[in-house]
């Protein structure tokens, strides 16, 4: 299964459409305030620690799960729909 997924992913990257989706998702998330939420989460983590001892890995490890959960459902649904239709349209070529 993962191989299938990577194949699709790979193709998407090759066609350059992944960048398109990524840009779209980024814009959507900024629009809905997700990015600011993530920044607040980061600030909390920074407050807990000394700002010198903070590493990017630590931030990624602690923020990513919450970031995934914080993505609003409509955005997620829209993206999934768009990716799926994009994949399916390839079938008809």
């Amino acid at each position: 299964m993962t191989v299938n997924n990577t194949i699709a992913h790979q193709r998407l990257i090759l066609s350059g459409d992944r960048e398109r989706f990524k840009e779209l998702l980024r814009r959507r998330l900024i629009e809905c305030g997700w990015r600011d939420q993530i920044r607040m989460v980061c600030r909390e983590i920074v407050k807990e620690h000394d700002s010198n001892s903070i590493t990017l890995d630590m931030l990624v490890a602690r923020v990513t799960p919450r970031a995934r959960a914080l993505v609003p459902d409509p955005v997620k649904k829209e993206l999934l729909q768009k990716i799926k239709t994009h994949l399916l349209t390839q079938k008809n070529l």
Binding site: V3, V46, A67, K84
Partner: protein
């Protein structure tokens, strides 16, 4: 299908991709996978931004609220005020004891106290010498106590409170005179001596009065000028003429009385216009003041001080 050959050609990839897409569920799966990966990428992008901001100090600059809370905290300890300064800090050195009278004096008032207590300084030496003189003259009123507390503002004894009250009154009046509010036409006070003319006074009274004030009779109001003997409104000649005319018939010493107080101590044979050195004048004044003081106190409350 399950193995991917490393040198996968574009054609192989395409064909496998089309295989996957044919199935709805695998396509859905692939879409989910792609979304996750994209989402992760976006998150990572934001985290890069944040991390960059933290490490370069950019976020601190932008937010600038990190050290805001500390200085404004209210300190809540019994020994300090709300700013965290000690309350006790002031008290230890607040009191000095006066070497002259052994009384505790607050440090801020110490210099003025010494000035009064030891009789140094401009006004105080006069006051002190006067006090000493009156002390020797009227011992009953002081009950034999050392009288050095008379002018101490920071002394809160009750022994001489009545006396002090009286003095305060005198001071008030005197200050009015010094300020020029009560000039020669303002003496409507019935108990004030200066409203009267020289005819109603005895020779001694006249003499004492003229030692303290200018005394020139105003042309308009017919009242005496209550300013000091050096008042700028009247000339030396006017004063001398007045003293001559007022004191001449009564006392033989009028000649010397014709001079102002400063010149009173100069030898009688010297001409009135002869100038003494300032130091000798000062000395003379000191000698003259205590003599005046006792009479002055009896004479009028107005002249309690100069």
């Amino acid at each position: 299908m399950n193995t991917i050959v490393s040198e996968l050609s574009m054609n192989d990839l395409n064909s496998k991709f089309f295989d996957i897409i044919q199935n709805e569920s695998t396509a859905e799966d692939a879409a989910n996978f792609i979304f996750d990966s994209v989402c992760e990428d976006v998150t990572l992008g934001v985290l890069f931004e944040v991390h960059h901001g933290i490490k370069t100090g950019l976020t601190e600059l932008l937010e600038g609220e990190k050290e805001d809370e500390e200085p404004y905290k209210i300190v809540n300890s019994p020994e300090c005020d709300v700013f965290g300064f000690s309350i006790l800090k002031k008290t230890p050195d607040a009191n000095c004891s006066c070497p002259n009278c052994d009384r505790p004096v607050s440090a801020t008032r110490f210099a003025p106290h010494l000035e009064k207590c030891m009789g140094m300084g401009r006004n105080s030496s006069r006051i002190a010498s006067r006090r000493i003189a009156s002390n020797s003259r009227e011992p009953t009123s002081y009950a034999g106590l050392p009288s050095d507390d008379e002018d101490d503002v920071d002394w809160s004894g009750t022994l001489h409170s009545e006396r002090r009250k009286r003095r305060m009154k005198n001071n008030k009046r005197n200050s009015k005179i010094h300020n020029g509010i009560r000039s020669n036409n303002g003496n409507h006070n019935p108990d004030s001596n200066d409203g009267a003319t020289y005819e109603t006074m005895s020779a001694n009274e006249k003499k004492n009065l003229l030692l303290q004030i200018c005394g020139v009779v105003s042309e308009h109001t017919k009242k005496l000028c209550t300013r000091s003997t050096r008042c700028p409104q009247h000339t030396e000649e006017q004063r001398r003429a007045l003293r001559n005319s007022v004191l001449e018939p009564s006392t033989p010493e009028s000649q010397s009385m014709g001079l102002t107080a400063e010149d009173a101590g100069s030898p009688p044979d010297s001409s009135p216009s002869s100038s003494c050195s300032s130091s000798s004048r000062k000395r003379d004044r000191h000698r003259a003041v205590p003599k005046m003081k006792n009479k002055r106190e009896k004479l009028s409350p107005l002249n309690g001080r100069d």
